[in-house]
């Protein structure tokens, strides 16, 4: 099994950065076992931007947790850059839905924390300068000395984004990164993210509820079914890069793709709503 997986990577022209193979996740609480993810297989190429969409509770975040090495699949395998993921994957930057800023550190100190770690000491050259740039980039200038509790939800999100981006991990795992932002700021941040990702050729896995966001940013959109999560369909998005999402949004192709995806998604959302009722 392992051999063939390794061989597959070597024979592929586009090397798979992330591979999920027949991955199943079951959560057991008391006597109840819930299947969150049901044998999904997914290859994500190096430098690819993949968006995962689907109804709530379909296991999108679970998939990110597995790639980050924070969760072990009940069955199947997760591979990152050719090696099985066993334990925290330090080559990814992970922005969870809930921000994990340290409440006793200021915005500035939160963003700079990566450079205090031995593992990233080498990258800490002119850290001050980079922190300042990053704060500017996410629009938090003037709030450097504020504590997370003094910021709005959207500002905390941006601080968390800055904290992850500053050490430029090769892969970004983003779980609803812009969910708490207002519509205008969301557009700005999407553009900034694209700029950075396209420049650095980062691999990105984005979980979002927002179909338009998925289509505007990603090279490929993966639609999940309602729980237990399976892959219902994948759709390549072939807009040229670098992209400008604000302009893309008004093209007829964009609308057509969104509509096509929405037809698939709506059935799943309806199913998940029926489940809950």
């Amino acid at each position: 099994m392992k051999m063939t997986a390794a061989q597959k990577i070597h024979t592929q022209p586009d090397m798979a950065q992330i591979t999920l193979e027949n991955v199943t996740v079951e959560f057991t609480s008391r006597a109840l076992t819930v299947k969150a993810v049901d044998s999904i297989s997914l290859d994500i190429r190096q430098g690819e931007f993949v968006a995962l969409v689907g109804p709530s509770g379909c296991g999108k975040s679970t998939a990110l947790n597995m790639i980050a090495g924070l969760l072990k699949p009940s069955a199947g395998s997760v591979t990152y850059a050719g090696a099985p993921v066993a334990g925290p994957n330090t080559r990814v930057g992970y922005m969870t839905q809930k921000d994990t800023l340290l409440p006793w550190r200021t915005v500035e100190d939160n963003i700079a924390i990566a450079f205090e770690l031995r593992a990233r000491k080498a990258e800490a050259a002119n850290a001050r300068e980079r922190v300042r740039e990053m704060i500017e980039l996410v629009g938090l200038a003037g709030f450097e000395r504020h504590y997370p509790a003094e910021l709005s939800g959207g500002m905390r999100k941006r601080a968390a984004l800055a904290r992850m981006l500053i050490y430029e991990p090769e892969t970004l795992l983003l779980d609803e990164p812009f969910g708490a932002l207002d519509a205008q700021l969301r557009l700005v941040m999407q553009q900034e993210l694209l700029r950075l990702v396209e420049r650095r050729k980062m691999t990105v896995v984005l979980v979002t509820h927002d179909l338009e966001e998925a289509v505007a940013l990603a090279d490929r959109v993966v639609v999940f079914t309602s729980r237990p999560g399976r892959i219902r369909m994948m759709r390549d998005i072939d807009f040229a890069r670098p992209r400008v999402p604000e302009k893309l949004r008004f093209t007829p192709e964009f609308g057509a793709i969104c509509e096509e995806l929405w037809r698939e998604l709506r059935e799943e959302v309806a199913k998940s709503v029926a489940h809950h009722a």
Binding site: G93, L117, R118
Partner: protein, 256 residues
């Protein structure tokens, strides 16, 4: 009307005046009740109490007793707190071990430690050490449980976030666990000082020939009400003085 910054200086000085007035009223009531409402033999009176304290100051015995009590208190407190925090951190990071040991720890925690004094005297002698260890045995559990709750309360995602950045265990302890449990430790330190003082005084009353506890017990054994009250007043002042810095410490930690 309430001002956002709390009571202003004017109303604060009014409150201080009221507090002084109340204290004087209590002392006066005590003075006049003594010998009229209740026999002076039992309740003594403020003047006699003040005279006893004056005598203790004059012959220097007051400082000896306060010094002995404080030495016992702070040594026991420091040892107990250090061990409690260390064990709390250790078991907080090893939930399996903690779960296995939990019933044993809870059983010993529930035991009134003063009952162990005879054992401690056998083990550590009649001197200072047995009392220091008794105080430590009380404080260690309070700080252990405070620290453990603090460690358990830490958001796992905060730790995972740092781990993904490449942080090693010791870095996570320094950058997440320590700062996260500080408020819990402050609270633990503040609540346990009261228990530590109680234990000190009781231990001294039971087996000692110096310290404030001994002073109370010794005066009572001689039916010297003024001596008992004098020692209690000294204890009152000392315990209030101890509480002030700890309260400030916690307020500072809580302001975040």
């Amino acid at each position: 009307m309430r001002s956002p910054s709390g009571p202003d200086t004017g109303s604060r000085s009014v409150a201080a005046l009221q507090q002084i007035a109340l204290l004087l009223a209590i002392l006066l009531a005590w003075y006049f009740a003594s010998g009229n409402l209740l026999p002076a033999f039992y309740i003594s009176d403020p003047v006699s109490v003040a005279k006893v304290i004056g005598r203790w100051i004059a012959d220097g015995s007051l400082w000896l007793h306060i010094g002995t009590s404080m030495l016992t208190l702070f040594l026991g407190y420091a040892i107990g707190a250090t061990l409690g925090i260390a064990f709390g951190l250790l078991l907080g990071m090893k939930p399996d071990l903690e779960e296995m040991l939990a019933p044993f720890i809870a059983a010993i925690y529930g035991l009134p430690k003063v009952a162990l004094l005879p054992l401690f005297v056998i083990a550590f002698g009649i001197g200072l050490l047995s009392k220091v260890m008794l105080v430590a045995s009380v404080v260690v559990f309070l700080l252990f449980y405070a620290t453990l709750s603090g460690v358990r309360d830490i958001d796992r995602d905060m730790i995972d976030g740092l781990r993904l950045m490449g942080a090693k265990e010791d870095e996570i302890t320094r950058k997440v666990r320590f700062p996260a449990i500080l408020p819990w430790i402050y609270t633990g330190l503040r609540t346990s000082i009261g228990y530590a003082l109680t234990t000190t005084v009781v231990a001294e009353a039971l087996s000692s020939n110096r310290g404030l506890g001994f002073l109370i017990e010794h005066s009572a054994a001689q039916f010297n009400a003024a001596g008992v009250f004098a020692a209690v007043v000294v204890l009152l002042v000392v315990s209030s003085l101890i509480m002030i810095p700890l309260g400030m410490l916690e307020k500072r930690a809580g302001s975040r």
